[in-house]
């Protein structure tokens, strides 16, 4: 019995170790490559684990010549704006959906769910034409269509959260003479804060990662967000893997920080949105 249990543990261990290796290896390898000279990347040293003569040249080129900081700034502006307005809009409507009875509520919920399943490509054409007419191409107005990818998810997660907060709390607040707004502000928000925070993080990540709308609506490189800017590093004629690796390493850092600090919230958001409890 004892040995079979130990065998099981070893199998588990091996599996988990292999899994961790598979998940981390690509990052690890890209990180190493970012310190290699292009001679080493394309030459015989391509598969060497420790760079022969480590260099920071790739980082310097990416930061100062290719101006990756500009696209990081863009991504930051776009993702933050999206997060702020989506969280506000979603909180209010999720509260109303969770607390009030009205006609067409199920239709609205079904619609919100259906929108999250739409192929994004279906919005891209009409929104492109709309922006062309309004002269909004190549601007930060792109945060508005980002609502189609972030808002349904945000409303959905928040409705679940609000449903878990007992009604009695608000009813007693009402008896004490609080207005709807006061109830929301003083009773519900503090209780819903963890849920709202979770939604904020997930919205931020979704907006930060968005690719299709960004590449079609903001074609000017001044407005490129990180994913688009990075995809343009690989040109048709030359692929400078050293620079690509350095850029990848730089842009992964914000994501890494978010994940390390907020993993609990992220997991709770993901699972409450996708899995019933």
């Amino acid at each position: 019995m004892q040995t079979s249990k130990r065998k099981l543990w070893i199998t588990f261990g091996v599996f988990v170790a292999f899994y961790l290796f598979a998940m981390v290896f690509p990052f690890f390898w890209v990180f190493i490559t970012s310190f290699k000279t292009s001679g080493e990347i394309f030459g015989t040293g391509a598969f060497r684990v420790i760079p022969k003569d480590p260099t920071l040249k790739n980082y310097i080129t990416i930061l100062f010549e290719k101006n990756i900081l500009n696209s990081i700034t863009n991504s930051f502006i776009v993702a933050t704006t999206t997060t702020i307005y989506v969280v506000i809009v979603a909180t209010f409507s999720a509260y109303a959906i969770s607390r009030f009875h009205f006609k067409g509520k199920n239709i609205l919920l079904g619609l919100i769910l259906a929108v999250s399943m739409f192929p994004q490509m279906i919005m891209t054409g009409p929104v492109y034409n709309l922006f062309l007419k309004l002269d909004w191409l190549n601007s930060y107005a792109i945060v508005l269509p980002y609502s189609t990818i972030t808002l349904p998810m945000a409303v959905w997660i928040l409705v679940t959260h609000f449903n878990q907060i007992p009604l009695a709390l608000e009813e007693s607040a009402k008896i004490d003479g609080a207005t709807t707004f006061q109830t929301l502000y003083k009773v519900i928000f503090p209780l819903a804060a963890p849920g709202v925070f979770t939604v904020a993080i997930i919205t931020f990540i979704a907006a930060w990662n968005e690719f299709l709308l960004s590449i079609t609506l903001n074609t000017n490189s001044e407005y490129h967000t990180v994913p688009v800017a990075i995809s343009f590093l690989r040109t048709q004629f030359e692929i400078l893997w050293g620079e690509v690796s350095a850029a990848t390493a730089i842009v992964t850092i914000p994501t890494l920080i978010i994940v390390l600090f907020f993993q609990k919230q992220i997991v709770s958001g993901l699972t409450s949105g996708g899995v019933k409890e």
Binding site: F12, G125, T148, L151, P152, W241, T255, V259
Partner: protein
């Protein structure tokens, strides 16, 4: 539950407005596009023209050049009768131009105005032909083409009804794209599900390492797909990619270059990248489902003499089914709509072997600026997505709304 007052309605309005403008209106707009031969790069088709329209800008430009050229050629026209004709055509061109002096762009015109234009084109064309027959004009090559632009400034309706839909049945690329999309979706989601369940089971049992595994799992999910795809394209790269090199040494591919440059290799690579990026996400979703299964059920099972395998099939799977279905539904839809991963990793190549419906629609719409046909492909995707969702919800019983 309370009754909804006016103030509470205001809470929902922003959501409805945003979803209405940026999610629902585009769907109907795309549907409208499908009924038109709508191309942004073609003056005659750069709009949705249910009826005939008149391109004022083109007419004004044409009028300017035709009158200018005719004036310049006037000295070459010897016969006074012909000279008179030239002057009369010029005068007519200008008088029509004056009618539209305050207009610009593409407008609607009356039937009479249209008849005038057709007549004018007819007369001008005859005149130019006659002149070209009799005399040697400076602009003998340019004038006939220019005169035709009078006719061209009447834009015919580009409404084509369902004809566009007919085209997708004869377009091989759509069939190939649909096949690629289905292959990609089925294979990647299947692998992700199997690995995801396995991983979730292990994590559920494991005493140690849950934290580190969870952190590590979130990173591939959290980084932008475009960045992940670019990273993998380096690892798959024929000359210096370590994964390609490894596959060559193991014997999975003959030459490391084959990985991205052969059709099956590129498809397998795309699937592998997708599995790498989303298996952890799947595992986390399923883990949450697993943790909700009370352990008393397993104890009861083992008292009744159920083995490990039996309790997996009789207890775990049935109770995990709702979680599995919801996770499967969302993953299937995500995989079906795949864009960034393939766009960055292979661009749909080599030779269209990894071209999915999204990629093809994108190329048609933004590469060839053919919004009409592109929208038809997108509409086809939309229908497929709807079918997938309905299949899951109706037949497999994935209940998404139960919570509410």
């Amino acid at each position: 539950m309370w009754k909804m007052g006016f103030k509470e309605w205001l809470f929902i309005v922003p959501t409805i407005v945003l979803i209405g403008i940026f999610s629902l209106w585009p769907v109907f707009q795309s549907l409208t596009y499908t009924f038109f031969d709508y191309r942004l790069n073609d003056q005659q088709k750069a709009g949705l023209y249910f009826n005939e329209r008149f391109n004022v800008n083109l007419y004004k430009e044409t009028q300017l050049y035709v009158t200018m050229f005719l004036d310049e050629d006037l000295p070459n026209v010897k016969d006074p009768a012909d000279q008179k004709k030239v002057k009369s055509v010029n005068a007519r061109l200008k008088s029509v131009g004056k009618q539209f002096a305050n207009e610009k762009g593409v407008i609607k015109i009356s039937r009479d105005q249209r008849a005038d234009l057709v007549n004018l084109h007819h007369d001008a064309k005859n005149l130019v032909e006659a002149l070209n027959g009799k005399y040697t004009l400076i602009h003998k090559d340019d004038l006939p083409a220019l005169v035709d632009d009078i006719q061209n400034s009447i834009i015919p309706s580009n409404f084509i009804g369902f004809k566009g839909y007919n085209k997708i049945f004869h377009d091989d690329r759509v069939g190939i794209a649909l096949r690629n999309t289905t292959l990609f979706t089925v294979v990647s989601v299947f692998i992700e599900l199997v690995l995801g369940i396995g991983l979730a089971l292990i994590l559920n049992k494991a005493m140690f390492g849950q934290g580190i595994v969870r952190t590590t799992s979130l990173i591939p999910w959290a980084i932008p797909t475009a960045v992940a795809a670019l990273m993998w394209s380096y690892l798959y790269n024929g000359s210096s990619g370590i994964v390609a090199h490894f596959f060559e040494n193991v014997g999975l591919v003959k030459q490391s270059q084959d990985l991205l440059l052969s059709g099956p290799g590129a498809m397998a690579s795309s699937i592998l990248s997708d599995v790498w990026k989303t298996t952890p996400y799947m595992a986390l979703l399923l883990l949450a489902g697993l943790q909700n299964i009370p352990s008393s059920l397993y104890e009861a099972g083992s008292i009744d003499g159920a083995g490990k395998i039996q309790s997996f099939f009789k207890i775990t799977l049935p109770l995990l089914k709702p979680s599995i279905l919801v996770a499967l539904l969302f993953r299937t839809l995500d995989a079906f709509r795949v864009f960034d991963l393939i766009y960055v990793l292979t661009g749909g190549g080599p030779g269209g072997d990894t071209e999915t419906l999204s990629i093809y629609a994108y190329k048609v719409m933004f590469g060839q600026t053919n919004f009409g046909y592109g929208s038809i492909i997108v509409m086809m995707m939309f229908i497929c997505v709807a079918i997938i969702a309905i299949l899951f919800v109706k037949f497999l019983g994935a209940n998404l709304m139960e919570k509410n």
